[in-house]
Symmetry: C2
Subunit: 112 residues, 2 copies
Amino acid sequence: MLDLDRLFHALADPARRAMLERLTRGPTPVSELARPLPMSLPAAMQHLGVLETAGLVRSEKVGRVRICAIEPQALDEVERWINARRVEWTRRLDRLGEYLKTLEGEGDGAGC
Amino acid sequence: MLDLDRLFHALADPARRAMLERLTRGPTPVSELARPLPMSLPAAMQHLGVLETAGLVRSEKVGRVRICAIEPQALDEVERWINARRVEWTRRLDRLGEYLKTLEGEGDGAGC
DNA sequence: GCATTGGTTAAGCACACACCTAACTATCGC
DNA sequence: GCGATAGTTAGGTGTGTGCTTAACCAATGC
C-alpha cells in the first residue's frame, strides 16, 4: 500500500478528521480524543491506529496515559499531489483559453 | 456521507488517482482510461463511478463513446480543509517558538 | 494492598469495497 | 442487415473496515 493511499484513506473518515482537528489545539490524551466521538474507546483507538500508520499522528505513553500529537509535515505529500494536479489542470485551461483567444484574434471564425 | 468523505475516499485508491492523472492530459474515453489499469473494464467503470459521485469527474456520452473530463474546482474543498489544518498547526508552532524565545529572553531560566 | 482510572487486546459481527465473469444493449462501418 | 466495437448491467466472491462487548494489564491515589 502506497503512502498516498494511507494518507487519503486516513483522511476519508469524519471521526479521524475530528481527531486531527482536536489535535491542532495541542497534544491530547487518547480518552479525551475519544470522548466526543459516538463510539466505544476501542473503536476510537482503531481510528487512532490508522492515523498513526499514515504518519499523521505520533503518540507517546507517559505513565498510564498516552499523549497524541500531530505530525505537522505529514500533509506535505498530500498537498504536493493536489498541487501537481491543479497546476496541470490550470495550465490546460490556460492553454485552452489562449487557443480560444487566438481563434477570436483571427479575422474570420475558423470553422465552427 | 459528507463531501470530504467522498473526496478523500475517491483519492485513496491508486487506480482512481491514475485515472485523474490521465485526465489532466485532456478528455478521455472510458476504455482508454481503463486500458492501462490491471483490471477488467467493469471494475474500472466502478472506479469511475466513485470519481463521478465525488464530483471529481464529469462524463458525457457521445455516440457509443463516453467521454470523461476532470472537474477542475473539485479539489477546492480538499485543499481548503488541508490549508485550514496547516494554518492552525503552524500558528501553534509559531506560538510555541515565541514562548520558547520569551523564556530564553528572560535572564534566568524560568523553572525547568 | 486494593479499588479506580486509562488503556489495550481478543473475538466476533455486519456491511462495504474491489474485483471477477457472463450476458446484454447500443452504435458504427460496411 | 450484420459483425465488430464501446459500454453497461447482473450476480457472485474474497477481503477489509468499523464497530461491538468482554476480558485483561498497568499506573495512581489513598
